[in-house]
Point group: C2
Chain length 490, copies 2
């Protein structure tokens, strides 16, 4: 961003630094989509949004429930007599029934192996607000948190922008299926220490955004041991807990520490209804800390991001309807599984593989064979082709701080079945075209890495429609005009 | 708060400092109320809550509108087809119709003398979140804002706790009707400079909480000149704009700068629907900045406190119904005027006066004649009597950083007419009892300052039911058990 000289001196460092993270390809992809969004009839050549971790597959169930439960809303004849009491309700503890509903949901999603205490539920403005709140409670400006990479692109802003924290990536490798190893944790920790950086904890998203995988118990135990040994915190962002759609099941950190000898004061969970229920607009975030002081402090901070009492009231009724919730969760994983299968199998048929996954609203697509060279620059060049030519807004691995170029996150639950088919068809064409460019024919039957790679050179006609130069996209300081639409990064 | 040694070192400075402001009489009053709330039949001797700036007088109008507009909700048969699109909506710009509705409301409340641009409306979690957001945009940790005192007790937390800013009070005097003078501003500014404190701006609530008065145009112009001369910011918290119920009318800072030659980049407005509409539970806060960079930065920060899209949708319809809004605002000021009159006249009849006011949901009661001595200690002693014996939770002036002891804020719009009568009766009894103690009889017909003052000595039987010692209440570091209910401070 460019500031007038007066503004640069008038405003805060936070306002004038770049740590909001919007000057990145991740956001450029959004802009490309926003300026030319796909529509089956009005704009069939538009960009398909596959950079949005939304869960749109079960709204029919929700809407049915809404119609059957008019008393769950304060805006119906059945509920309006509660309008006043709810409109003026701003207890930091949130509505009791709401907390109870959320605690039950969290327990159920964790397979009812742990009971969550409604009195520990602290509300916040989405997981975005919850993550920031936890950081404000745990660390001072200049302190750092370790974050296994690849990690959620929003973490940089959410965890670090206003708190002044630094994130230290813990590199995970494809050769290891991106598992978080103790060795990698130790290495990152020691490196930080050598640079005099005070590491206050580790934060992981489980299931992972962008990988779509769940942490196994062994890894989780090793994480707990690690933070115990160092006397630092472990924050588990479990926002995708209920999006797990096949085995292995999702295991909450709450279950792990149940039978471990560890300092529970170090363990904190972040949750939200944005993904599991598909309500990102409602801004329901949760901090669940096993540390009483953190819980009390987070509760005071909830004044900055309380959930609308209108929304609390509705969700209290919905989440306490156990039959509905059970059915919703079952149906939701079924539909996610089906969609995930359709998408990944469709890609496999044209020779594109992805990391084996069983959760989330996305998968991690392996485009390494298509890179000219194994660099972030080449990844972003390929990404530019995909977005401008193939017209799919997928997200490049570098926006998730992935240490290996060539991976892309593909979201699959924010569109209908027809759009999935269009997207798959575009990818198929793109791949075939690449093969044609190589062979001058379609006779090549299998994926031919080396040749394919050459075919996507910058002189290829596939590159000539770029909106921005790769150099532009690479520089975090390049002036990008304000986005007309700044949508939550998901 | 007491922390375990490990937690003191494990948690952040923010988590372990006292700047959340809850260890104050203001919050103790809440606790006293919460542990023994008044109810006309179940608990007629309970504490009456007069520490809560809520606007409960017009919910009949709102509820009628709700019933007439079922399509304004996504939870009715008429609106449910929009449920999905709204539940997934999380554009940082907020719903266009919602912004338009808010902008229209702000214009109307300002007497339609200025037009507010919907594109400048940035949403936040209540004025609480909006105020913090503005501070994050404008100042760095250690910087300061000048705040004319007495000022809203929540400012300390909202503006300073997580941002690391300091507040420098600008003392306003009763002899001057608590007007904000250029001289007082200059004095505070210079004092700060001498202490090497970097003053980044001035923040004022207009209408004032706790005074219930509106700023006159001349004072506002002088504020604008002051910030212009110093090249610092002016933030106007106009959350009580529409609670003005008699002349002089409310004037928005937007109107003032319209015909002034000044740097508009320095001017920022905070607004909310918590008071004017009476919806604190919905957490609707607004930042309206004339500085583009601040607006863009605040918009990025709105990710931490977006308004629930369910609530945006409802309010979009309500606020765009101009006939309804017009009628609501007229009726609301009428009822506020009536209530204010009943209350202040009732007090006058027993000899208690208050600052002349015409706005807000409270008035500023003058109890100086009842103080043993003109100190904060004496004020808190009197307050303890009022809360524990008279059983009214009014708020002592010291919680608003008032430089003169003996003033109390009395909220009047959060109760029904019967409760008002009970409260007035209790005050009357209290005053008469004081007189009796002095005279041994009721023959004294007029308020007898000196004697009355003596009668409230700490040996008086009026003092023997205190929950806490004054010393306890005075110390910001005294260990107070966690409040079972931590409600938003209003
Ligand atoms: C891992 C992770 N954490 C937090 C968030 C923010 O979610 P919310 O919408 O609840 O703020 C997201 C959204 O994509 C996410 O993927
Ligand atoms: C002057 C002032 N600003 C801000 C607030 C906070 O309001 P909100 O409920 O919108 O966060 C209040 C609440 O009392 C207030 O009086």
């Amino acid at each position: 961003m460019e500031f007038t000289r007066n503004n640069r001196q008038l405003l805060s460092k936070i306002a004038t630094n770049d740590r909001h993270g919007e000057n990145s390809p991740y956001f450029d992809g959004w802009k490309a989509y926003d300026s030319n969004p796909y529509h089956p009839t009005h704009n069939p050549r538009g960009v398909i949004q596959m950079g949005l971790a939304e869960n749109q597959l079960c709204f029919d169930l929700i809407e049915k429930w809404i119609l059957e439960n008019p008393d769950a809303s304060i805006c119906t004849a059945e509920g309006v007599d509660k309008f006043k009491d709810i409109a003026i309700f701003q207890d930091y503890h949130a509505l009791k029934e709401f907390r109870e509903g959320v605690a039950k949901l969290m327990g159920r999603v964790g397979g009812n192996r742990v009971t969550f205490d409604p009195n520990r539920i602290v509300t916040s403005g989405g997981a975005t607000g919850a993550n920031e709140t936890v950081m404000f409670c745990l660390a001072d400006p200049g302190d750092a948190f370790l974050v296994p990479s690849p990690y959620y692109a929003g973490f940089a802003r959410d965890l670090g922008w206003r708190t002044g924290l630094d994130l230290v990536p813990v590199d995970c490798k494809s050769s290891d299926n991106f598992r978080i190893t103790r060795a990698a944790l130790e290495e990152a920790y020691e490196k930080a220490q050598r640079s005099n950086i005070n590491v206050k904890g580790v934060i992981v998203a489980n299931p992972s955004n962008p990988l779509g995988t769940v942490l196994d118990k062994e890894t989780m135990r090793s994480l707990v041991s690690f933070v115990n040994d160092k006397n630092i915190h472990l924050v588990c962002d479990e926002i995708y807990a209920a999006t797990t759609f096949s085995s292995p099941r999702f295991v909450s950190i709450a279950e792990i520490i149940q039978d471990m000898d560890c300092n529970r004061d170090l363990i904190h969970i972040v949750y939200s209804l944005s993904k599991d229920m598909g309500f990102p607009g409602f801004r329901v975030g949760i901090v669940y800390s096993f540390n009483d002081d953190v819980m009390n402090c987070a509760r005071k901070m909830s004044s900055f991001g309380l959930v609308s009492s209108q929304t609390q009231f509705l969700l209290a009724a919905m989440l306490n309807d156990e039959e509905f919730v059970g059915n919703f969760l079952r149906e939701s994983s079924k539909r996610l599984a089906k969609r995930h299968h359709a998408f990944t199998k469709g890609l496999e048929r044209v020779g594109i593989s992805s990391l084996k996954s069983n959760a989330g609203l996305f998968f991690w697509m392996d485009m390494r064979p298509l890179l000219k060279e194994q660099t972030v620059k080449a990844e972003l060049e390929l990404w530019r082709v995909i977005i401008n030519k193939v017209k799919l807004n997928v997200s490049p691995g570098s926006s998730f701080q992935c240490s290996e170029p060539g991976w892309f996150r593909v979201c699959f639950a924010n569109m209908d079945d027809q759009t999935v088919q269009v997207a798959l068809e575009r990818i198929r064409e793109f791949v075939l075209q690449g093969k044609e460019e190589v062979d001058g024919s379609e006779k090549s039957k299998h994926w031919r890495k080396q040749n394919l790679r050459l075919s996507f050179s910058s002189s290829s006609r596939l590159y000539d429609e770029g909106l921005m130069s790769p150099a532009h996209m690479m520089s975090p300081h390049s002036p990008i005009p304000h986005s007309p639409l700044v949508r939550a990064r998901t």
